[in-house]
Amino acid sequence: MARHSTVRVFVPGDTTARSMGADVVAEEITRLAAKPKGSVEVIRNGSRGLYWLEPLVEVEREGERFAYGPIEPDDVPGLFAADFLNSNDHPKALGSTESIPYLAAQSRLTFCRVGITEPLSLEDYEKYGGYKGLGKAVGMAGDEVISTVTESGLRGRGGAAFPTGIKWKTVLETSAEQKYITCNADEGDSGTFADRMIMESDPFVLIEGMTIAGLAVGATQGYIYLRAEYPLAIEIMTKAIAIAYSAGYLGKNVADSSKTFHLEVREAAGAYICGEETSMLESLEGKRGQIRFRPPLPAVKGLFGAPTVVNNVITLASVPIILAKGADYYKNYGSGRSRGTLTVQLSGNIERAGLVEIAFGQPLGQFLEEFGGDTATGRPIRAVQAGGPLGAYLHPSQFKTPLDYEAFAEIGAMIGHGGLVVFDDSTDMGEQARFAMEFCAIESCGKCTPCRIGSVRGVEVIDRIRNGENEHMNLELLRDLCDTMIEGSLCALGGMAPLPVISVLDHFSEDMGVRDPKRT
């Protein structure tokens, strides 16, 4: 071409970037760039996950990307005035994107392409290492693929942390005419958005992971059970599946392997309990999302009674890189029995909220300081809730705990899906304890009594305590009730909803109207 080559400008198109006005920013850039015609190409990439900087605009110069953020629509004329296509001289210039400390300090394995590529460009996906894992898997026997996954140490990232390879092996070894791969994309925990990011910003990695799982265990049909609260993720995943079909990555002859794998998105309908695997299966079958008794395990008798793999989005999205680079590559990250990387989702009242993929093992407090900075309100941190609405509220005295499954379990907490929600010192922790029970009451599937009735009674007892009615007797009753729910509930909803309540009783008792903690 005779002219100057086109400059590529990236404006993320994921839900959070859009929620902060990225669409208008993209339009403004396109409009103002139109003058020397054709010189700027605006690309809607995924988000890098540096959410406090969204909308994060990037310009590519000589193969390197330079960031500006957060860019509001009103900033766009100023960017052009400062010649941002050619120079870094702007108050919101952040320099080379890859050198931003928040990003540079991460180990992006599962998220290696997120924010870099255009989500629906299969060409981009392949250019950045996509479908290499499947390429290897088609040349391997099912049990070889599964041993690789087992050796990598990958454990379910949805919260339960069950070893993925062992689950797959059970499905492989259960003989049946039809088997299924189901992806639990009902990411309902507050403070989590990693699944959404994968589906919106790198959808092919999930498709590839599920396809590998299908070939490994001999399943020919996959379903992604996707939250209705994520309309953009539904749209992007659906389009990506159609693209994968037309490129021969899905269908009757997956990547010329003569093997079949079909995949489809199923929209959920707003029931938190359907994040529990057996409820999800009931829902996929078209029923109320009430949990099933176990055994039989879904791996033996799952969807429509057939052996079924149920894995979370991040788990399945981690499989392609494990296959592509080998089990050792992945296993070498991490600590203790928690191998590989953890995708921490930092949110709430914090200066620098976003997605951080790092090796397991960093102490929580150090992590919060390094990545999060101060609270958004500038007040001291009162508590951090880890692992969603069923996770404990951690007191600053517990911040030395390393981020790994076992260390968290030891202090009665959980990593869960990796969500960390920060609260400042204006928080009424008694109100948070009450909400844990209220949420359980709203979302209980109703199958077992400790959860269905216990949660309602929990709200009532907490209200009585907070009103100063028979405080000590009611506190004892509340602990007793928590115990009943933990021991007597059929699944994790009733079984874990008491954890945040107990953590408030143990560490923030002054907010439960208890004047002298020793008397409780």
Partner: protein, 175 residues
Amino acid sequence: MRSVFLGTAPVNDSQESSEENQRIFAILEREASRPGPLLPVLHAIQNQLGFIPEYAVPIVAQALNLSRAEVHGVISFYHLFRTSPPGQRTLYICRAEACQSMGARALESHAKQSLGVSFHGTTQDGRYSLEPIYCLGNCACSPSVMIDKTVYGRVTPERLDELLAEESGPEYGKA
């Protein structure tokens, strides 16, 4: 083989026009042969009509070889299925913890006051329905709301008023 809807009109004692029924039949014809079809069918009905009308229940039940009770049970189990017509727009306020940490409780009361309705209510002029929602996955930019399918982040009460006024005119958003 399982019973699949074949396109013949099932018995229907409702007063609804056959045109309304035809829309349900068309959806069933498209969706009923999928494995586990009930949720996709109900979503399709709600996408088209805005809600799942009473008269759809027996039609769906018969076509899918289910009892009316089973269909009703599924509709009532899931928070996002509705059985009454929504307002022109639906405002969802996130009530979950990350949003709580950034002022969602105040935002919730403000929204109720601004619109003059409680959760699950619809404004008298039919413009807005107000619904709670538990996490939009926008936690890093809390608090969040969603209007129909568009998510907004870091929504202060003032910002909510602006959004409502932008969407529906200046009489909205004046608490």
